[in-house]
Subunit: 403 residues, 2 copies
Amino acid sequence: MTERGVPGFRFAGVACGMKPQTAAYGGRALDLALIVSDAPCAAAGVFTQNRFPAAPVLYDKQALQANPAAMRAVVINAGNANACTGEQGLADAAAMAALVEAALGLPAGSALVMSTGVIGLPLPVDKVEAGIRAVAGLARSETGQGSEGRMLSAKATTTTDTKPKLAARQVGGASLLGMAKGAAMIHPNMATMLAVVVTDAALEPAALHAMLRRAADRSFNAISVDGDTSTNDTVLALANGLAGPVDPAAFEAALTELCTDLAQQIVRDAEGASKFVTVRVTGATSEASARQVAQTIATSLLVKTAVYGGDPNWGLVLAAAGRSGIELDPACAALWFAGDGGAEYQVVSAGAPLAYDEAEAARIFTCRDLLIHLHLGAGAAEAMVWTSDLTHDYVSLNAHYRT
Amino acid sequence: MTERGVPGFRFAGVACGMKPQTAAYGGRALDLALIVSDAPCAAAGVFTQNRFPAAPVLYDKQALQANPAAMRAVVINAGNANACTGEQGLADAAAMAALVEAALGLPAGSALVMSTGVIGLPLPVDKVEAGIRAVAGLARSETGQGSEGRMLSAKATTTTDTKPKLAARQVGGASLLGMAKGAAMIHPNMATMLAVVVTDAALEPAALHAMLRRAADRSFNAISVDGDTSTNDTVLALANGLAGPVDPAAFEAALTELCTDLAQQIVRDAEGASKFVTVRVTGATSEASARQVAQTIATSLLVKTAVYGGDPNWGLVLAAAGRSGIELDPACAALWFAGDGGAEYQVVSAGAPLAYDEAEAARIFTCRDLLIHLHLGAGAAEAMVWTSDLTHDYVSLNAHYRT
């Protein structure tokens, strides 16, 4: 957690009383984060596809359309999702942005908003208002420029995450810094995935948006904890240009790496999970079809439960691939397992099981870090998806969290 | 289990040593069932959409295409799925049909085959051969015409079902009898759903196929235990015509009822489940879109786990509907819960929560028989899907069944 900052960006996080003050949140319930840029930013967002988008999602989409080249701030609250809150919710999201603009003396329409937490409760605007005054002051102070500010802001966006998630990359003379809060599973209606990436590279909004969309598809959209997408999922990127232009391909590669790093941190921190599973599908006719097959395997309850139990049940992997909706030739399918970075061990060839050593396959399935590699034999495209196992703890945590 | 037989059909079941002789199977491991018609039958099948279809699925599709109007028998084995078995598997399925035809003196191509059990092991044809001789003899005896034969055959198709599943209906002077084996969850690679419906109504094969397809969509395709479809799922219908013609609409209604009865028996017998959940979606623009929304809710891990925990978490239901891929207007959504056949209790109106009584909602969620009713406010179409909850037992049974 010693990630370097990015020139021109300040960070802060405070407690405003929205998040319950429980041990689950580490006692000190930071719940309001602020990111401010000294210079106007090109900005882009990728949002949940859920048809019940939360108010901040609707607000940000509009704000980015109106002002994609001169954003200045992002404010994030944790504890209340401002989702399923109707017209009042939209007004509250707009008020939250306006409060930030007023507190920092920024132009109207230059602040974006993110929320995560309980669905269906009105946003406590009075608490948010007091919190914004405090967090704006802290961001302007020396704390806002240093690593403490970054850590406070990362912590203030978390809900049931057990740790804040930060990642950094360099590309040429420019820096990228990302923070994310994850789909921890203890409180399903707080399972929103939020991420913000800031950079001092100079980029056009349209180019930034295209790169963010592709990077998100290969990272945040390639993780699956339980298949349920939230009303609030949002990834934002802000580029203040202070480092000047960068090579676009190198920047996109760094952005994709950074987002993948954050996405994997989210899966590894998924509460109730005991294993980290990489599903790799190769030999597909397109990346999209490879991803669809990988997603179907990664979200199969039977596969995830077998992984938890340490059962190398290759038949379940093939059966899940078979129902993914992608055309497959069973006679071309091959399957390997690998554990903790070890060599791949083949169990299926030409769609039928090899005479493999069941004990070796079972040993691989005891590893905490498991690779399931399915080759379709139909083309040269591939995709990876990361997931966790389905455990007794997952059921316990989700079954009884409100009652 | 006193369902009447259907004139002209004989049933039998025997043990041929393919299924493990354990308590899980009730000690006496019946594993080979036979259904024989004295007269040639119009026949139709609805099969798994899985791209790794098992050998019997491939065999039956071909057989039905070649001889849809003069089928005479269905043979079913439990304990070995004959799936992922390559060319040898196809030859074994054909051999199994030929053995039945030889044992009963039937024309070539007049027997259909179903298999359920472990994936990836070659079919033990010697055991099947001995079993077919025995079951053919039993079917021809007096036992084959009575209720004992029907019960033996229903038991012989089960794997981890805790009870055989039979249902009967009358329509005019004709009878329908159905048997099914379910997607019990203890052994996921035995989780195949198989069903056979026989009738003495006189029907053309094409009409029978169309009605079976629609009935299956509203029954077997409307149940979800864990979202994983099997390589072997098959529903067959045989009509021997002895009772003469029937009113097509009345017959289809009876067939749909019968299939729904069997499908609900499967969900109620899902091992590891503690609750039976009906998801009803109304106010959709089409039955297909209503079903898609209902399926997404019914397969949501978060919803299923909340049901297990007795948590009336309406936000999860809306969030699942929102990611179903169907266009929705959140402002039109309404949601009700009901338990054990009681009155519906509204918790959401116009996409936002009502000031409902949390204690009453929680009481409803303690019921074993739960209704989740979502109204979309977009049209007049509706659909129902039946599912079970996600429990600790589900995880235990599926995690550790081979290890």
